[in-house]
């Protein structure tokens, strides 16, 4: 993959009628997807108009009154909204870093196991949590971290603490708990794509390295990692665009009134104010803000990657 990409810089596609005739099937498929995209991704954007109205379901788009940027003004003068931006960013970045690093680490470690008898079961077991819904994962966490839960019991037996820690009452623990939960659930799943990339590496490289006297760690460092670098870069870029989707379910299900100030994310804010209080306009405004920031992030990251001469999305 890495080798081939180099050539794209040389090749400049030209659109000719002849070429179009030859590839008509591809064009039809392309058109179908474009229409799909227009209907399902772009048409709903009409709803963004709500953010500039005082939208009432009774009146609809056509008869709701326009209020300009008032909803945005409300958002940015609300301390709670500033806090949820901070929380979303913090948890997003924390999740990104931990799941990202863990997945790569896990894939490399797993690759070092030569026996398929051990490797396959581990791989399967490790990605199973991905299929658990958050409600189950948070249920397990809630039990495990409760004051009579297994974690507190272990800590008590190890004499590390005297009284059980109430993990969900302390604002300091919440972000790490969320990051840990994400890590536990997604590491195995995310590692699959790296494992696939590793499989594609030419074994000759390892053999040559062995002959040159490279040990395990040298091989990982000088062959495995550089070979999967393009994959890593692409996934990193895509994940950066997703940073603001730091989650809704985990925070919603694990949070409580006491630690609201660190647990509420933009999505929860939208739910409370937009859906819960029927202020759909405010909810839409917050949603727009989120989309715009995400677009800025992904373009920014892409531009940086471009400048650094790395693999990039577009």
């Amino acid at each position: 993959m890495a080798g081939k990409r180099k050539n794209t810089d040389v090749y400049t596609p030209k659109f000719t009628l002849k070429e179009a005739k030859k590839q008509w099937v591809l064009l039809v498929i392309g058109a179908a997807f474009t229409i799909y995209g227009l209907i399902f991704y772009y048409a709903p954007l009409v709803g963004w108009i709500m953010a500039f109205q005082n939208y009432k379901p009774k009146k609809g788009f056509l008869h709701s009154s326009f209020v300009g940027l008032e909803k945005f003004k409300f958002l940015f003068s609300d301390d709670a909204f500033i806090k949820v931006i901070r929380n979303t960013l913090a948890m997003g970045v924390l999740n990104l870093v931990t799941t990202f690093i863990m997945a790569i680490l896990f894939a490399i470690l797993l690759n070092e196991i030569k026996s398929n008898l051990i490797k396959k079961p581990i791989q399967t077991i490790s990605y199973l949590p991905h299929f658990l819904s958050w409600i189950i994962v948070t249920g397990i966490l809630h039990d495990a971290l409760s004051s009579s839960g297994i974690i507190n019991e272990i800590l008590m037996n190890l004499k590390l603490i005297d009284t059980p820690i109430n993990f969900f009452a302390n604002t300091a623990y919440f972000w790490p708990i969320v990051a840990f939960a994400n890590c536990w659930k997604e590491t195995g799943w995310n590692a699959i794509i790296y494992l696939a990339a590793i499989t594609a590496i030419d074994p000759c490289l390892y053999e040559a390295a062995s002959i040159d006297g490279a040990g395990r760690f040298s091989k990982i460092w000088f062959i495995t990692l550089p070979s999967i670098k393009p994959t890593i870069m692409i996934l990193l870029l895509m994940n950066i665009g997703n940073v603001l989707n730091a989650g809704f379910e985990v925070q919603y299900l694990l949070g409580n009134g006491l630690i609201k100030s660190v647990s509420d994310t933009i999505d929860i804010y939208v739910l409370t104010w937009g859906v819960g209080n029927m202020d759909y306009s405010l909810g839409t405004a917050a949603g727009i803000f989120k989309s715009v920031v995400s677009i800025v992030l992904i373009f920014g990251a892409n531009a940086l990657a471009k400048r650094a001469g790395e693999e990039r999305l577009f």
């Binding site: 189950i136 009134g257 209080n277």
Partner: protein, 578 residues
């Protein structure tokens, strides 16, 4: 290598735990071997009744299925529920009820509106105004006169109060409606509750203030730190979850002797709205909680527990006391106590009418009906057969159907003595309290219109919980002893509230519940709620109460509470002026 092994071990451990957790849920429901026999017997009885009454079936055997959503978390009943089937055969209508799961009522209703996939009936809790705003409800005006049972629920004046701005009635509250003479024996309101065994241990003292109350809890817990099986007792807990945070939040209004206006105090002498969040009593109350928390008397998990965890805790009998509404815990917890025999050990909760200073009058108990016109059952525009839907609302109030809903099947769930009084045997009571039986046999349609008070036969109570004989017969021994010691007969007498005429404005919460973020007051109300959810537990857990209280007040004032209070005052003036 080591890391991988540990990771793998941990992952597999996690999987196992999750599987076990899944199994645990199912097994938790109490099972009784005698159930099967009972159900068989009961099916026989059912067939008899149906044959007798088959001519009454509404339309020629065809059963219309309606759907219903109620913004309350409750257990769904089985699809082949027996009484539901009997009611369906008699009325030609079966209603599939779904309940709130996890989200708040506002969120659930908001999702319904945004998605447009509405059920036929909807009971939206505090979010009825949202449904009205979305224009998805059927106006009742043209139908009401055709259905006498339904019409009978409220007086003309009361029906008027359900009228919305556009001049139509869209819903009717289903609760707190007394037919004929009141039979109230329970305190279906808020109180500081205490286990009967704690009172017995303390020698049934007079408990008037928070200091008295916590003193008893502390002393008892010191001498009896664990239950018989070694579980540690929790002297006091306070639920803070979502809308149920009234358990920690609104005690100051009662402590000052005011009735449950919910969101504010109404100072009747000056006809002024008073904010109970900032009163001296509020500060005293939270200061007391703070002290008790520091002493370890209050459950360290009070702020983070969910409602389910809270109910589970109460059900084990380890919680000695808490502040709560009767309906929020008693139906579930008392049934569990009955099944597990904890009621005989004195775990049942007795209400105490605490006040800020000894000797004050209090109004924890609301005598008479409270009309909360901001909530109720409605029919949505998605309903295809509106006439039939109204017919069913009318039918469920029919005495025969009403008895089926709340008393069950005659001969199976209750018996009738020579005087025509309904009663249950101990076995019937135990069965009625069993969760499995509730799912397979009972169908209360608990969020459809219903009556309290006296049955149309003039003798029995509309609901068994209010049947005097039932009440006394089902009262566990420790409760009887407790009531005797305080020389009272019922829960309302136990709490001993004064009976005062409540003004036409009561309850003010029917207004604040219907507020939307359209107005500055509504925005303030939402922000106040968010702030209190965060700060009240913080204040209770603070190492330095004074400074934390000050920070709380600062955060509180940043919500512009005056906007909210002004709108409440306006509404009070409007209601009082009528």
């Amino acid at each position: 290598m080591k890391l991988k092994k540990i990771t793998a071990l941990f992952l597999s451990l996690g999987m196992t735990v999750s599987m076990l957790a899944g199994c645990g849920g199912g097994a938790a429901a109490p099972t009784g071997g005698s159930d099967t026999a009972a159900v068989e017997e009961d099916t026989g009885a059912k067939e008899d009744t149906v044959e007798e009454e088959s001519d009454e079936a509404a339309s020629n055997g065809e059963i219309t299925e309606f759907t219903m959503f109620a913004a309350m978390p409750e257990a769904e009943i089985n699809d082949d529920n027996e009484i539901q089937q009997i009611i369906a055969e008699k009325t030609g209508v079966k209603v599939k009820e779904t309940w709130l799961t996890g989200q708040t009522d506002a969120e659930a209703i908001g999702t319904f509106i945004a998605g447009g996939d509405l059920p036929d009936y909807i009971n939206g809790g505090d979010s009825m105004m949202a449904l009205y705003d979305a224009d998805v409800l059927v106006p009742w005006d043209d139908y009401l006169d055709k259905y006498p049972n339904l019409k009978e629920m409220y007086s003309d004046e009361e029906w008027e109060s359900f009228r919305q701005e556009d001049g139509h009635i869209y819903w009717a509250n289903v609760f707190q409606n007394t037919y004929g003479e009141s039979k109230a024996t329970t305190h279906n309101d808020e109180a500081f509750w205490i286990q009967a065994k704690v009172l017995e241990w303390a020698g049934y003292p007079k408990i008037e203030t928070l200091d008295d109350y916590f003193k008893v809890l502390e002393d008892y817990a010191e001498e009896n730190p664990t239950l018989e099986d070694g579980t540690e007792v929790i002297p006091y807990t306070a639920l803070c979850e979502d809308w149920r945070y009234f358990c920690i939040e609104n005690a100051p209004e009662f402590l000052d002797g005011y009735p449950n206006d919910g969101s504010v105090i109404v100072d009747v002498e000056n006809m002024k709205i008073v904010d109970y969040n900032t009163t001296a009593t509020a500060k005293m109350y939270f200061n007391k909680l703070n002290e008790e928390y520091a002493k370890g008397i209050i459950d360290p998990e009070f702020a983070t527990q969910t409602y389910d965890e809270y109910i589970a805790k109460l059900s084990t009998g380890r919680v000695l006391g808490m502040c709560d509404q009767w309906w929020d815990f008693a139906y579930t917890v008392n049934d569990v106590f009955k099944t597990t025999g904890l009621d005989l050990e004195g775990c049942n909760y007795v209400p105490l009418g605490l006040v800020a200073e000894a000797g004050m009058e209090q109004q924890w108990h609301t005598y008479g009906d409270t009309l909360n016109n901001s909530s109720g059952v409605a029919i949505t525009t998605n309903c295809e057969d509106v006439d039939k839907a109204f017919q069913f609302l009318n039918d469920v109030l029919d005495q025969e159907i009403h008895d089926l809903r709340f008393w069950g099947v005659e001969g199976v769930d209750y018996l009738i003595d020579d005087d025509g009084m309904y009663y249950r045997t101990e076995e019937m009571r135990a069965k009625w309290a069993d969760t499995e039986y509730q799912a397979s046999h009972e169908c209360k349609y608990s969020y459809l219109p219903q009556w309290l008070g006296t049955s149309r036969d003039g003798k029995n109570a509309m609901q068994p919980t209010e049947q005097t004989s039932e009440f006394f017969d089902s009262l566990a021994e420790p409760l009887v002893k407790c009531f005797e010691a305080y020389d009272v007969k019922t829960y309302p007498e136990m709490i001993g509230s004064v009976e005062k005429e409540l003004g036409p404005w009561f309850p003010m919460y029917s207004f604040s519940n219907a507020m939307t973020t359209e107005t500055p007051g509504g925005v303030a109300w939402t922000k106040i709620g968010e702030t209190k959810h965060e700060w009240l537990p913080k204040v209770v857990m603070a190492a330095n109460f004074e400074s934390e209280w000050e920070s709380y007040m600062e955060a509180y004032n940043a919500c512009n509470p005056q906007d909210f209070l002004d709108e409440m005052q306006e509404e009070l003036d409007r209601r009082a002026g009528n």
